[in-house]
């Protein structure tokens, strides 16, 4: 157990060392990521300057939601960008090198790459909370906790989405990228006020309910039962991701032999 953890820690350190020589790229990419996030947020500002409130949500709620999802996606892709490359690694055969290692495949694969731009996402969240979110100091620990849980669920969903490639014969990279885009789209929209069928989707295969809605509501009105439920959802999605990846990997190994 300790050996595995120290191995994963070594992978994280290795990824971070990459930026010692690439700090300029890190700065440029993350700054532009923040700018583009804010440009999209202006669209919400424009809408709320006319509508003021949508089904009980105002500008501050949208700012908190945008901050949570940006930071959650940022944490996920800054540390676990390898999960976004599952389809590419299956296609070019580089997954084989992970299978040959005497360690669990999924964690080493997830930690095999980092996305420099995602650091901008991580910092964009707190800026949103600070300038537009009407956040009090008492809410900060809740915001950080729900963002971390949201990040776990998003990372799990990323693994699931890119594991589709195990069952595809061709065009897996583009298709899985499109499905990842679906995940991003649904995670950046307002889940409440949607029709029941869409809400059902958001509570199951596209878990925007747990990634953004419940975290944003918890910041507004904290409820320990809902918080515990959110942790439970994170465990369920993480387990599902591990199981689906394992099934896909088994299929991949069988196709090699």
């Amino acid at each position: 157990m300790i050996g595995n953890l120290s191995y994963l820690w070594a992978l994280i350190r290795c990824n971070m060392r990459f930026y010692k020589t690439e700090y300029w790229r890190l700065f440029i990419m993350s700054s532009f990521m923040m700018i583009q996030n804010f440009m999209f947020f202006i669209l919400w500002i424009i809408l709320f300057s006319t509508a003021k409130e949508l089904k009980g949500w105002n500008m501050a709620d949208i700012a908190r939601m945008s901050g949570i999802i940006a930071s959650a996606v940022g944490i996920s892709l800054f540390f676990f960008n390898g999960s976004r490359q599952i389809a590419y690694k299956i296609q070019d055969g580089s997954l084989d090198s992970f299978i040959a290692r005497p360690r669990a495949v999924l964690p080493s694969l997830m930690l095999s790459s980092t996305s420099s731009a995602s650091l901008g996402d991580i910092f964009y969240g707190p800026l949103m909370w600070l300038f537009f979110g009407d956040v009090t100091w008492a809410q900060v620990p809740i915001l950080i906790s729900v963002t971390l849980i949201s990040s776990v669920i998003f990372s799990a969903m990323t693994v699931i989405v890119f594991s589709i490639a195990f069952w595809m014969k061709s065009e897996a990279t583009r298709f899985t990228e499109q499905m990842f885009l679906v995940l991003i789209i649904i995670s950046c929209s307002m889940p409440h006020g949607q029709p029941e069928a869409v809400q059902w989707l958001m509570k199951t295969i596209l878990p925007a309910w747990y990634v953004i809605y419940l975290p944003t509501e918890l910041v507004k009105n904290f409820d320990i039962k809902i918080f515990a439920g959110l942790i439970g959802a994170a465990i369920i999605y993480a387990s599902a991701a591990a199981l689906i990846f394992k099934a896909g990997l088994r299929r991949y190994i069988n196709s090699l032999t």
């Binding site: 990419m29 532009f32 700018i35 440009m39 202006i42 509508a51 949508l54 583009r174 789209i185 307002m190």
Partner: protein, 267 residues
């Protein structure tokens, strides 16, 4: 004057783009899924806006839904990954093999992307019409609106693909093209009025929008759903045509810079 050879290259590139699009069936399915999810989610958001607020701006929920769907359909017709393909060609130095051919690299690339966009339109346009009709329960456009939409589509696609060429090749000067693309994409969303019609925008932002090419890429086509007056339309098409011509010349000028850069110092 465009020579016969150039026309032949454009024609062949369009066909290549058509074949490439037809070969990627999973991608078409993926586009349908993404478009559907996006529309279902944002349609509900539009319906959440109080009707009085929407009517005060001069249109209905139905018109706003069709506006958004039309703008999104145009975004989906564009080749979002095209700049990356080009960047990869520069990074992998594959560009050299393209440059030794006795045909313009720029014409081949842009022609192929336009071909891909137009082929995607063959699938997307009927799907968009049926899906949005089923979701919204109505169709606010007149025959003339639909005709004007289809007239503005090719020019919008041309501008999007020209921009992809310029952004993709900017990696010769910048470390990576991605930051430039992000700014471009979000400018298209914001200044091209992708989610909400320009009537929602404050006056100062409307002026900024009209000073840029972005309304010509999305808003002008999408405004067909709002039933604008003919005078406004005429001005809008003039704006679109002007920027289309400008884009062509900017791309040609930029292409010269690219060639000189590669000749002087390689990729």
């Amino acid at each position: 004057m465009i020579s016969r050879a150039a026309l032949s290259i454009i024609g062949t590139s369009l066909v290549m783009g058509y074949k490439r699009s037809m070969a990627s069936k999973a991608f078409v399915v993926g586009s349908f899924i993404t478009f559907t999810v996006l529309m279902v989610v944002y349609l509900s958001i539009i319906k959440m806006i109080p009707l009085a607020k929407v009517e005060a701006l001069g249109f209905t929920h139905l018109q706003m839904i069709w506006y958004l769907a039309t703008a999104e359909m145009m975004v989906f017709m564009g080749s979002a990954w095209a700049f990356k393909d080009l960047q990869n060609d520069f990074v992998n130095e594959n560009v050299h093999t393209s440059l030794i051919r006795p045909s313009s690299f720029m014409l081949v690339r842009v022609g192929m992307w336009v071909g891909e966009s137009l082929t995607r339109a063959l699938f997307l346009v009927p799907y968009y019409m049926i899906l949005i009709y089923c979701l919204s329960g109505g169709f606010p456009m007149r025959a003339i609106d639909v005709l004007l939409l289809f007239l503005s589509l090719p020019l919008a696609m041309f501008m999007l693909n020209c921009a992809s060429y310029i952004i993709g090749s900017s990696c010769l000067w910048l470390i990576q093209s991605e930051p430039a693309y992000w700014l471009w994409e979000k400018s298209v969303f914001l200044l091209g009025c992708m989610l909400w019609p320009m009537a929602f925008y404050p006056v100062w932002l409307k002026i900024i929008c009209w000073l840029t090419p972005f309304p010509g890429i999305l808003a002008i086509g999408a405004q067909s759903a709002l039933g604008d007056t003919s005078l406004t339309r005429l001005a809008a098409f003039g704006h679109q045509a002007l920027w289309g011509v400008l884009f062509f010349f900017i791309m040609r000028w930029f292409d010269g810079k690219i060639l000189r850069r590669i000749q002087a110092g390689g990729v």
